[in-house]
């Protein structure tokens, strides 16, 4: 059997406290989307700065050129150091972290963004894309050298409640992974359509001897028993 670790684009990191943290890696497509948003923002900035300073003669041109330089090289650095993500990345729900899960520092951010120059070669992030496809963590060349990852910003919504039901002891002994599956089903079921809920619950009809919504309720019962033991 293929485990989820082998299929999912997640990366695990063992922290000094001895537990595993899990990060969901951002792939080329979502990162390209973030880049496109940033490119649009930068284009607007270029136009705004270009228009507003073009009336100030040589000094104006100097300011425009310096602004071009700063935006070209340091626009991502500014945002990554401040909040871990450029506006484009924020919009796509991703951010930059170190390999060990800590917020990206100035030096790592500068390295990954200076090396963007080679990622961009020969055209439109050709080398960057190749690099991302050839390693497990979707790192472009700049990420490899800086030791950074681009991952989904894990947004934690409110924890789903276990539907209450009278606790029922399952008729057979459940293995640990089966127990987990029962609990996972009970916690996720309220978010599923009722047809799907019933379809899944009826897999256990042989054990519970129930059909339809009663089968669903039966599994809620098992889950309550597992969790509360009453």
């Amino acid at each position: 059997m293929v485990t989820t670790e082998e299929v999912d684009t997640t990366r695990q990191y063992e922290i000094p406290e001895g537990v595993l943290l899990e990060f969901r890696l951002a792939g080329p497509l979502v990162r390209a989307g973030a880049w496109a948003i940033d490119a649009a923002i930068r284009a607007v900035l270029y136009i705004a700065i270009g228009l507003s300073f073009s009336y100030f003669g040589g000094v104006g041109v100097a300011i425009i050129l310096i602004a071009l330089f700063l935006i070209e090289w340091f626009y991502p650095v500014l945002f990554e150091v401040k909040s871990g993500a450029t506006p484009g990345k924020k919009a796509m729900g991703i951010w930059v972290i170190h390999d060990n899960g800590t917020p990206v520092t100035l030096s790592a951010s500068v390295i990954r963004n200076l090396l963007r120059a080679v990622d961009f070669m020969p055209v439109m992030y050709g080398f960057g894309l190749l690099s991302m496809l050839f390693n497990r963590e979707f790192k472009r060349l700049g990420d490899l050298a800086a030791g950074t990852l681009v991952v989904y910003r894990d947004s934690y919504e409110k924890r789903p409640e276990l539907p209450s039901s009278t606790a029922v002891r399952p008729g057979v002994e459940l293995t640990e992974s089966e127990q987990q599956a029962v609990l996972a089903f009970a916690e996720r079921a309220p978010a599923l359509s009722s047809e799907r809920r019933v379809e899944l619950a009826e897999i256990l009809s042989e054990i519970s001897g129930r059909k339809g919504e009663r089968a669903v309720d039966g599994i809620y019962g098992y889950a309550n028993w597992l969790m509360k033991g009453r």
């Binding site: 943290l21 100097a62 090289w73 917020p103 520092t105 276990l162 992974s177 609990l183």
Partner: protein
Amino acid sequence: MRQEQFEQAYRPLWDKLGALLDEMELSRRKRNLDKARAAALPTLYRQVCSHYALARSRRFSPALLEQLHHLVLRGHRHLYRQRGAWLWRTLDFIGGGFPRALRRHRGYFLLALTSFLLPALLLGLACYVDPDMIYSLMDEQQVAEMESMYDPSGSHPGRSEARSSETDFMMFGFYIFNNIGIGFRTFAGGMLLGVGSLFMLLFNGLVLGGVAGHLTRLGYHDTFWSFVSGHGAFELTAIVICGAAGLMLGHALLAPGQRRRIPALKAAAAEALKLVLGAALMLLAAAFVEAFWSSSTLDAAIKYGVAVLLWALVVFYLVFAGRSRHGSL
């Protein structure tokens, strides 16, 4: 212990950590955190870590695991983040960190210097001897433009048009945009197994040597050399340093030694960054000198004198700044 009892026993602790992290995630101004509360973070965090490990091994429900995982993730970010007194570190970097880093890696610097200087000298000599040699490097129009720029009979040697302080400012912006960009690209080229950096060094060496040799042969030396010699102290040195930083990346990729390639690359990049940032500051200084001093029409002798001073300053800074009394690097 059943999951429900486990949760009832420890939920207050989780809520406490959650509230503390909420507070820490606010911006510094909005935060209202006293030392005692902040000091509770490590203990609280490690307790929740062990709760998470327990919950995992006891196969508690996925929703609880996710809740605890999220808490651990946030705690980890705060406990292990690196904060810096960046202003102090910048000053320390300029005062000694940069030249020390350069001296630590002087092998790369010498290699980059050779890759730049050797082609410059060879082609410079060739162009000095052979009037047609320059055309192997540039086309006719470029050569004509370059010649007219430094023609002593032109009104303002060094630039094609008359310069006002307005144009000085404009050129300052241009040098920042162009030259620091070239420096960064020279560094980044090192990711291509060092070939990109090497190419930039060779190419810039050839162009500079060729132009210098050709103009000297024409007898334009006072206009040309008095223009380039001042800012060259910063600019040429900085480009070579950027090349050296790129070569460090290339070396780590080609011959990582005892490490695996990626860790070797990471270590090399962290060191190389110091060289690149130092070089960027030097290029900033070069842009300033080039825009406001090099183009001035003062007597060539004064400009040569200042150039000697600037070169001495750069060499002295790179060789001696940041040395400790005990004669270390």
